[in-house]
Amino acid sequence: MNLVRTICPYCGTGCGLLLRVVDGTAVATYPDREHPVARGHLCIKGWTAHEFIHHPDRLTSPLVKKGDSFKEISWDDAIKLAMDQLLGIAGKYGGDAVGGLSSAKCTNEENYLFQKMIRAGFHTNNVDHCARL
């Protein structure tokens, strides 16, 4: 049995979760009795935190817009396209023509890298996230 000790993805309380994983699939969520804040408690959202992870709507490939629809492309092409376009805009209009919205759902490490990428990569401080919303 594989129980992975992690943190709830919903509100700012940050309750501890144990995700039960069977054959690479998260099948259940249990409260973590050792967590310093939640102490074995979860709300309705915490108890069901595993339910959206493997939803069929999950995005599984980089997509580029062609006309009105999206087409799958490779990661190499996607990364190149993203940076060619954004660096091109920064070159043409200046770094302040580029902006980045980071995420209150992503980790600290990802937020750190995101703001570093925007600030150092484009010479702008146009970086924010939805703390105000």
Partner: protein, 527 residues
């Protein structure tokens, strides 16, 4: 928040204002009930009779947008009657005369008239808060999502300092953070004016430090906030990268947001689902959910906590750390990190407040910052004995009424918020079968008198219109809401509450006034 969540259980008085913690932060509500079981007094200020209000000792059903009159009236009474903590104020806070001068304008009677709460109740509540041995203030978006949101927060800080209810274990101020890592996103410098650890971007020495660390020349002028970026999209802002955010649903006046997003030269959206925002993108990158990544989240009590990878991302999706490493490298930066752990080492090095944070130390119970070095035990509560700036400062909170008030044309107050089974724009919760079963369609809460007034009953459909647009939702008739007001949760893409909301911002924090605007209601005849 100044203190720790579990410290609430020991408070003698908990003053909750603009927070429906029972639905939005249920586990924190559990700590509040523990305080009540020990004999503590729970006071709730909210225009709606929320689940929190229902379970409080005292509920003040305040007129929307009149928080400052209430707090000013309370402070006036506390000062007049000498209930404030003279010793604390003398020793630890500057600006008392300014505060006294300000509250002189706010007699309890005037406050009572503005907020439509009996003067005797304001006096009673003020006295209970001031005289309790340790009182805590809990607030949430009901305080901040106003045109005077910053001033509201200032008023709460003034109240706490006036009564000496800061800097001890069971007192303090508890802003409840709404997202799992909104604290961390701020801490990591995902803000236009500060680097990681709240270091000012316009400070030359700090800028030079980061230029050295990152090997690039950096901009010294603060950037634009999220609402400003969206508003200037297609003009000043030509290219936008949005990682796991959904402004097409979460920002005010989304009709304009959609136009802005559509006018960008290039939009990249990185997310786990095809969100309303991603549909506008030129390029969509498939990211990883919380279960697919290693890293840390920081909760509302400043606690760094380890997030551990449980499963692989689906198909060709990648966790966001890996995607950012690819992007940073493509941008010509040295992003040769092999593990999120390397990033934490760099964070600890460049932000003094997190200097002592390592993954090893987080394994068991996490760590609350400030934690400046590896021997530091972390900080369960702030401002013990001393404020960050040395002495605290009373700042005068100027009252600004809501920018759009009900009138003949739009006679109702409209307020938006969350309900217990859903979360933010519903991207995750509406794909969770058990949660979606609880509520699968948008609704508006309406007082029975108002429902009678326009001839609708439970489950009937109405059109809600504001100066921005209109949506059609089902009616939920309930006495939880006062006559003259309606409440709409914003989780539903089929009926986007933010089509209606007023995009006016708090001048300082740039937070939109989601909690008050004027609306008109009409019955929709089913055909």
């Amino acid at each position: 928040m100044t203190n720790s969540i579990t410290d609430l259980a020991g408070s003698e008085c908990i003053f909750i204002i603009g927070s429906n913690a029972a639905e939005s932060h249920p586990i924190i509500m559990g700590e509040i009930y523990k305080a009540a079981e020990k004999g503590g007094t729970i006071i709730v200020v909210d225009p709606r009779r929320t689940a929190v209000a229902e379970n409080a000792h005292i509920h003040l059903s305040i007129e929307p947008g009149t928080d400052i009159p209430l707090l000013a009236g309370m402070m006036r009474y506390i000062i007049d009657e000498g209930f404030y903590d003279r010793e604390f104020v003398d020793a630890r806070v500057d600006g008392f005369d300014d505060l006294k001068e300000f509250v002189a304008e706010w007699s309890v009677e005037r406050a009572a008239e503005e907020c439509r709460i009996p003067a005797a109740v304001i006096r009673n509540v003020a006295r209970i808060y001031a005289e309790a041995a340790e009182s805590a203030i809990v607030y949430c978006m009901g305080i901040t999502q106003h045109a005077c949101g910053s001033a509201n927060v200032t008023a709460l800080c003034d109240l706490a300092m006036l009564c000496g209810h800061v800097g001890t274990e069971h007192s303090g101020i508890y802003p409840l953070r709404g997202q799992n890592n909104v604290q961390g996103a701020c801490d990591m410098g995902a803000l236009p004016n500060v680097y990681p650890g709240y270091q000012d971007v316009s400070d030359h020495a700090i800028k030079a430090k980061f230029e050295g660390a990152w090997g690039r020349e950096l901009s010294g002028s603060p950037g634009l906030t999220v609402t400003e970026m969206i508003r200037s999209a297609g003009r000043e802002i030509r290219g936008l990268f949005i990682m796991a955010e959904n402004p097409a649903l979460s920002d005010p006046d989304v009709t304009h947001v959609a136009q802005s997003l559509a006018s960008l030269d290039f939009l990249v959206v990185q997310d786990i689902f095809m969100t309303e925002t991603a549909k506008f993108a030129h390029l969509v990158l498939p990211g990883g959910s919380f279960a697919e990544k290693t890293g840390t989240f920081t909760n509302t009590e400043r606690r760094f906590q380890l997030v551990r990878k449980a499963v692989e991302p689906p198909g060709n999706a990648k966790d966001d750390f890996s995607i950012l490493c690819l992007l940073g490298t493509a941008a010509g930066l040295d992003f040769s990190y092999t593990d999120p752990r390397d990033v934490m080492t760099e964070i600890a090095r460049c932000a003094p407040a997190y200097g002592g944070v390592t993954y090893e130390r987080l394994e068991r119970q996490g760590l609350q910052w400030p934690c400046p070095h590896e021997e530091h035990p972390g900080t369960p509560y702030l401002h013990k004995g001393r404020f960050t700036r040395g002495k605290g400062l009373f700042v005068v909170p100027r009252h600004t009424p809501p920018q759009e008030m009900p009138d003949d044309e739009y006679p109702f107050y409209l307020s938006t918020g969350r309900m217990f089974a859903h979360y933010h724009t519903g991207t995750m919760t509406r794909r969770s079968p058990f949660l979606n079963r609880e509520t699968e369609m948008a609704y508006a809460e309406m007082n029975p008198l108002d429902a009678l007034g326009i001839g609708v009953g439970e489950g009937d459909t109405i059109r809600i219109s504001t100066r921005r647009g209109s949506i059609i939702v089902a009616v939920r008739v309930t006495c939880r809401i006062a006559s003259g007001s309606i409440f709409v949760p914003f989780h539903f893409t089929e009926a986007r509450a933010n089509v209606l909301t007023n995009p006016v911002l708090d001048p300082q924090a740039k937070t939109p006034e989601f909690k008050v605007c004027a609306a008109r209601l009409e019955k929709v005849i089913d055909r």
